[in-house]
Subunit: 195 residues, 2 copies
C-alpha cells in the first residue's frame, strides 16, 4: 500500500484534487487498462517537455512560431489580447475570430503580486509598433484585474494611433434579467445598441 499512498499524495499536487478525489483517482487508475494509463502518463510528460512559449504571441506551442502566427490565411492586422493560453483555445473553438492573438500570461493583480513587468506587455507594444496592425481587441476577463489590465494596455497603445477595442459586457445569451446582478444590468444598458 505504500506505493498507493505515494500516488495519492502526488495526485494532490493537482489543483482541486483533495485527499478524497486523489483516493478515487488512484483506485480508478488501478482498474484502467495498463496501456491507457501509460499513454496518459506519457502524454502528460510529452506535453510538459515539448510545449514552449511562441516567440511571437506567447501561446503554448510545439513549433516556433506557433501554427496561428504562421497561418497566412488569418487576418494579419488584428490582434486579440487574452490572459491565458486556455482563452485562445476557447475562442478558437467558436471559430468566429480569424485574427492573431497575444497571450499576457496573467493580469495586473497587486493581491497576487503581479505587475505589468510580469506580463508579456513589452512584446505586445513592440509587435504592434513593428507590424501593420489595424486593431487590438483586449479580451482580458471582465473582472477588476482584467479591466485594470485592459486600461493599462490601452494607455500604452494610444500613441501608436490604432483602433483599440474591449470585448462587450452585457447579459449572457439565454440568461434572465431577473437573476442578473446590478453591475451586469448597468453594463448592458450602458452598452445598448440600435436595432
Amino acid at each position: 500500500m505504500r506505493l498507493l499512498e505515494e500516488l495519492i499524495e502526488k495526485l494532490q499536487w493537482l489543483p482541486g484534487i483533495g485527499r478524497k478525489s486523489a483516493l478515487r483517482l488512484a483506485f480508478y487508475l488501478q482498474k484502467m487498462d495498463e496501456a491507457k494509463v501509460k499513454e496518459l502518463a506519457g502524454t502528460i510528460v510529452r506535453a510538459r517537455t515539448s510545449l514552449k512559449e511562441c516567440i511571437i504571441c506567447h501561446n503554448l506551442t510545439e513549433t516556433n512560431p506557433c501554427p496561428i502566427c504562421t497561418d497566412k490565411s488569418r487576418v494579419q492586422d488584428r490582434i486579440c489580447v487574452v490572459e491565458q493560453p486556455s482563452d485562445v483555445m476557447i475562442i478558437e473553438r467558436i471559430g468566429e475570430y480569424r485574427g492573431l492573438y497575444h497571450i499576457l500570461h496573467g493580469v495586473i493583480s497587486p493581491i497576487n503580486n503581479m505587475g505589468p513587468k510580469d506580463l508579456r506587455i513589452d512584446s505586445l507594444l513592440k509587435r504592434v509598433s513593428q507590424n501593420k496592425i489595424d486593431e487590438v481587441i483586449i479580451a482580458t476577463n471582465p473582472t477588476t484585474d482584467g479591466d485594470i489590465t485592459a486600461v493599462y494596455i490601452a494607455k500604452l497603445l494610444k500613441p501608436l494611433n490604432i483602433k483599440i477595442t474591449r470585448i462587450a459586457r452585457g447579459l449572457p445569451t439565454g440568461s434572465d434579467i431577473e437573476f442578473a446582478d446590478k453591475i451586469t444590468i448597468a453594463k448592458a444598458l450602458e452598452g445598448r445598441q440600435e436595432i
Copy 2:
C-alpha cells in the same frame, strides 16, 4: 496546440474530469515544475504496473502476500470483509481495528451486472474454513447492495459455525436527529444499547 488538445482529451478518461477540469489540469501541468510532472507521471505508471491483488486478502499490494496478511502482530482470527481496497485504507487510518481483511472488489448488484461469482467470495469461504477464524465482520456499505451482499455471505458462512457480525448502523456522531432520515432513525432505535 495539438499536443495540448491530446492531453485534454486523455485527462477526460479520468472519473469526474470533464472538458473544463481537463483544460484547467492541462494548463496547470504546464506551469508545474518539469521534474515534478515527471515524478507524478512516473508514480502513476509504477503504481499501475507493480500493484497486484494479494493472493490471500485481494488487497492491492507490491509484495505478495501483502504486508497486512504477513503481519504476525495482528489479530489472526478476525477478518473484516470490505467492498474495495480504499475501504481498507480508510479503516487502517483510524487505527482501531487490528485484525485481517478480505476485499470483495465489489458488491452483488444486478443493476451493474455484478453477481456473487464476480466477487472474491469463494476464496473467503476457503480462507475461513481452512484457518482458525473466530469472527467475520461484514463491513460492506450500508446500502441495499451492501446489505444484500452481507446477508448472502452470512448465509454461506453460517455452516462453519463462527461469529458473523455486521458493522453498526445509526446516527453519525456529531449529527442531528432533526436532520436524519427515517430509516437511519429507525435503525438507530433498533440497534439501541444499554448504557
